[in-house]
């Protein structure tokens, strides 16, 4: 659980809220292959990948909703999550759709949760219901999909959770409420014992809040790195096709060619900016890095 990461001048001790090692799961038409990454405590990890990449399957493996063929998952220090209710008290989960019964209202949901979670906070829940403007006199089936998502988020935030696992939780929300919720997540993470694993297509949200990014593609983890390191190290070189050969192939992530030349995603931007004044190297985004990795040559 604890690992010493040797930096230049200091040994940094890091705890991990979630650790996946070699997680493998085979289905008829898809498989998770040797998925390994770690979510440091006190951080927000963005978990990104295209549709069908394996994000939800990975989250289900973490929560033991599916049985892994191989591998190990440790969550908040245990690999026996399905048998340990104390650990599950500390986890708040939001899936990409609401799983509340159609005829329940928020007051009934609060009464149910009071008898599910030892640390259920009805006042905190009421505060989020008001903040998200959810009607108390309507039942869940009368809510829009955005309102159902906000309800799930309110529940996840109302039982003193230490770990939030969110599967496309903000995807169906308008930009205003999404911004509000991201601010709530940033507030949540102020307590260094709290951690968030946020799976999302909306890479701009991840750039706003994430400390780490894990990218999964066709069931395999492509990278799992610090967001700042990604933005710092990756860049897009605009050059002519003849100049492509002058770039170190070991640092080329992907290439896009067009009639005017090449766009080359590299992971040694700082080095190139220092040594190759003849090249134009632009900063990049998480979205571009992913597109180059998936669609680039």
């Amino acid at each position: 659980m604890r690992e010493d990461i040797k930096g230049k001048d200091a040994v940094i001790k890091m705890d991990y809220a979630i650790e996946l090692e070699g997680v493998t799961k085979q289905y008829a038409n898809f498989s998770l292959k040797d998925v390994s990454f770690k979510v440091p405590k006190g951080s927000i990890m963005g978990f990104v990948g295209e549709n069908g990449a394996g994000k939800t399957t990975t989250l289900k493996a973490i929560l033991n909703l599916i049985k892994m063929d191989k591998g190990n998952v440790t969550i908040l220090g245990t690999n026996r999550i399905q048998e340990d209710c104390n650990i599950k008290e500390q986890i708040g989960v939001v899936f990409d759709e609401s799983y509340f019964h159609a005829n329940l209202n928020v007051n009934q949901i609060s009464k149910i949760m009071k008898h599910v979670y030892k640390n259920w906070q009805p006042e905190e829940f009421g505060k989020y219901i008001k903040k998200f403007r959810l009607p108390e006199d309507k039942v869940v089936k009368e809510y829009s999909s955005g309102m159902k998502m906000k309800l799930s988020i309110a529940v996840a935030l109302s039982h003193k959770a230490r770990l939030l696992i969110l599967d496309e939780a903000t995807s169906g929300l308008d930009p205003v409420i999404r911004d509000e919720i991201l601010d709530i997540f940033l507030e949540f993470i102020q307590d260094e014992n709290n951690t968030i694993l946020l799976s999302s297509h909306i890479t701009s949200d991840l750039e706003k809040v994430a400390d780490y990014i894990t990218f999964i593609h066709q069931g395999q983890v492509v990278f799992s790195e610090s967001k700042d390191e990604l933005i710092y190290q990756y860049g897009v070189v605009h050059c002519k096709k003849e100049e492509l050969s002058s770039l170190d192939k070991n640092h080329i992530v992907g290439v896009r060619t067009n009639q005017f030349g090449c766009e080359v995603m590299v992971n040694n931007k700082k080095e190139l900016l220092r040594e190759r004044k003849d090249l134009t190297v632009d900063n990049t985004t998480i979205e571009e890095i992913i597109l180059f990795k998936v669609r680039g040559e």
């Binding site: 289900k60 929560l63 033991n64 909703l65 599916i66 049985k67 399905q82 048998e83 209710c85 104390n86 599950k88 008290e89 986890i91 989960v93 899936f95 759709e97 799983y99 509340f100 019964h101 159609a102 005829n103 329940l104 009934q108 009464k111 149910i112 949760m113 009071k114 008898h115 599910v116 979670y117 030892k118 696992i165």
Partner: protein, 211 residues
Amino acid sequence: MIGLLIKDLFNLKKYMKQFGFSCFIFILLAVYLKSPNYFMGMGILLAAMMVINAMAYDENAHWDKYALTMPILRKDLVFSKYALLVLSGVASSLVTLGASLVLSIFLKLPLTLELPLVNGTLFVVMIFFSSIILPLIFKLGTEKARLIIAAVSAIPSVLFLTIYKFTEMNNIPLPTENQLKMAAFAAPVLVLILFFISYNISLSIVSKKEY
């Protein structure tokens, strides 16, 4: 587990109103037939249907997947349904027995041990059928299990009629009163054993499920 039961009771609020209305209709029928037995039987049957409805609501909401992310174990998902079955069965039995007694007094029918015996038998029969049906629903879901539930309900009647016809045609003597009494005492014990076997089968099914 209490949270799961409270959730089921909230979801069944509407059903219980319909249950109350249906009981009212059955009471009218009982007055017309001058016998509360039919009313008791339907009342206890509706209690069994309550659990199936609760499971259908959970299925429609895909609740189990979400519930397992909370401090709820897989065995809690199973236990809550069996607990609901017993609670609704006992409640329905007591309510229908009480109502039947009042009805009997109103209809000036003789008050004998027949009413509680019939009531108890119906409760045992309800537990018997539910013990067969619940593992099927856990395995197949309420939609796919419907046909099998209809078959399970029909098979004992068909079997009973077949055995009766066979004994009649072959001059095989029917069980004596003493033999029937012994069977009546043994039945609750056998049904109790079946109930525990059913619970363990359901537990095994849910333990292996992937969501």
